[in-house]
């Protein structure tokens, strides 16, 4: 009995921690959705682009870890700047659907640029954190939990806290929340939309880089990272597109549910239900709570 409980705990904790990796990807989507009410289809490409550039800086130019990370982060700010200037500003008065289509195009451009600059082969990213159980926890708690998962959990926690503080207590955060509510009214009182857009896209780029590092360390830095980012979709549906805590909790739920289902129910379906179980859950949410757990409710005065 104790054995079984321990095993369940291990599956659950492993799932929760793996879920924070989804949360990190979802965070990037939320940032952009808040400011421009658009699902950014290029987020996956941004993950791929940023982490590939990071690897390129380290492996092709022999730049040490930290400067390479800073360079990659700066590169993502430049990408944000170019996106604002070349894509968003000309589409300022276009409908949300047009912007959505533009993000799909932007995704292809980033994928192409990344591969043209850094090549197409799978790269190994070594963060110095192994993807194997931590001995101390295995010995004392009898749980086998990956060090990489624990790191991802910590990183996600730090990111959510700093983003929360940024939005709640800084001037630019207030500007961002105002733009998220009503861009027209925000510009009527002198909040410059272009600064807010630049901030949001740069922040989403840096978040993409962090998420890319975690996933790259686990699965190798490769093109598949682009599609992996779409796993964030059920996370967002469950957590709510416009909520940062929602992205985190949504990721945890998806991570835990998919692992638990895989282990306990998977065998009845011949395994590999991890791939689609989150989407089934997402459908239920769409039916019964379309704004997600933490999404901003559509407030309507009666």
């Amino acid at each position: 009995m104790v054995e079984e409980l321990l095993f369940f705990m291990e599956v659950l904790v492993g799932g929760l921690l793996a879920g924070t990796m989804y949360s990190l990807v979802a965070l990037g989507f939320v940032l952009i959705f808040k400011a421009s009410a658009t699902f950014n289809f290029s987020q996956g490409a941004m993950v791929f682009f940023s982490v590939l550039a990071f690897c390129g800086f380290m492996q092709d130019f022999n730049i040490p870890f930290i400067p390479a990370f800073i360079l990659a982060a700066l590169l993502m700010v430049v990408v944000g700047l170019c996106t604002e200037r070349l894509v968003l500003r000309p589409l300022m008065n276009a409908s949300e659907d047009t912007v959505l289509m533009a993000t799909i195009g932007l995704g292809y451009v980033l994928e192409g640029l990344a591969q043209a600059a850094w090549g197409v082969e799978v790269r190994r990213l070594d963060l110095g954190i192994g993807d194997f159980p931590v001995p101390w926890i295995a010995d004392n708690l009898k749980l086998f939990i990956s060090a990489l998962d624990i790191t991802a959990g910590l990183v996600a926690a730090i990111m959510i806290i700093s983003l929360f503080l940024l939005f709640k207590y800084t001037k630019i955060g207030l500007g961002l929340r105002a733009v998220a509510d009503d861009p027209g009214a925000a510009s009527s009182i002198g909040i410059p939309l272009k600064h807010i857009m630049l901030l949001v896209w740069s922040a989403a780029g840096v978040v993409a880089l962090v998420a890319g590092c975690m996933w790259g360390a686990r699965a190798g830095v490769q093109f598949a990272l682009v599609d992996l980012a779409l796993k964030a979709l059920p996370v967002l549906i469950i957590g709510g597109f416009s909520s940062i805590p929602g992205a985190i909790i949504g990721g945890l739920i998806i991570g835990a549910v998919e692992k638990v289902l895989e282990v306990y129910i998977g065998p009845f379906f011949g395994g590999a239900i991890e791939g689609w179980a989150p989407y089934v859950l997402a459908i239920f949410f769409l039916l019964y709570r379309p704004e997600g757990l933490f999404g901003e409710k559509i407030i309507r005065r009666v």
Binding site: N93, R177, A178, S188, I189
Partner: protein, 272 residues
């Protein structure tokens, strides 16, 4: 720069088109003297909002453009500025329909108005306290989410928010829309107070002709994108045509708009 002019705003014969095709304003000219309240009156679709948006340069975001004529604000021509630059120059528009940031608290809404100014936390709080002396009702509700406040309170938030930008000129687009008469009076009292105590010049678009004229110095009446009539508020209030068409009062006593139209078509038939 020529700041000696007595008018803070001088609109000369502007023509406005949306999407390069739809002609919204044919020929509108109006002046707002410094420190005065000017009412822009007319029915739905007459071009009141379009005029205000032409001034605040918010037209661009609705694919509208001033295709003829000129607008001069505080001695400078307005043409290529962005709305946020206009706010920097001291011109703030309060959009039609209040447009509060629903998920922000009342206080956050008001503070957001100071975004374009470089103020310290202490300065912001000082400004906030000053604003609350005009909007006492808002101080009580400072922590509630703006979306859950009443229509009158939301209108006050919108005006208070605009005041935080320290404007020289306010453009108010239908501030009393859908409000009970008592609230209409309250809003106008505040607007009047801001005008006299803070010296803000005001251009006010309204359908509520009677109340608007009683609280203004000068009035313009526009219809289908043209200025039909203008004059001091007093002269307009006593004008027979205005009385009949916009105030619903005729020599024979009260009348509604339909009666006036019926009468007009009858006289037309007769003259035919």
């Amino acid at each position: 720069m020529n700041n000696t002019s007595a008018n803070i705003l001088d609109i000369k014969n502007i023509e406005v088109r949306y999407d390069n095709v739809i002609l919204a304003l044919h020929d509108v000219s109006l002046k707002v003297p410094k420190g005065k309240v000017v009412a822009l009156l007319g029915a739905n679709g007459a071009g009141k909002s379009t005029t205000l948006k032409a001034v605040s340069t918010m037209l661009a975001s609705e694919r509208g453009k001033v295709t003829n004529g000129s607008i001069e604000y505080d001695g400078n021509a307005i043409d290529k500025q962005t709305p946020s630059q206009m706010v920097g120059l001291g011109m703030v528009q309060v959009l039609e329909g209040r447009r509060c940031f629903g998920h922000l608290t009342v206080e956050e809404n008001i503070i957001s108005g100071a975004y374009s100014r470089k103020l310290s936390k202490g300065d912001i709080n000082q400004e906030l306290e000053k604003i609350y002396t005009y909007f006492i009702r808002l101080k009580e509700r400072r922590k509630s989410q703006a979306a859950f406040t009443s229509g009158g309170e939301q209108q006050m938030i919108a005006v208070a928010r605009a005041m935080m930008a320290k404007p020289k000129m306010l453009l108010l687009d239908e501030p009393t829309m859908g409000l009970a008469p008592q609230l209409v009076a309250e809003i106008f009292n505040i607007v009047k107070e801001l005008n006299t105590k803070e010296g803000v010049s005001i251009l006010l678009a309204e359908q509520n002709t009677n109340v608007a004229l009683k609280n203004s110095d000068y009035g313009y009446i526009i219809e289908t994108g043209r200025v039909m009539l203008d004059g001091t508020a007093e002269s307009l209030l006593n004008d027979d045509k205005v009385k009949e068409l916009y105030l619903g009062i005729s020599k024979k006593g009260r009348k509604n708009f339909r009666d006036v139209l019926k009468e007009e078509s009858l006289t037309k038939k007769r003259s035919n």
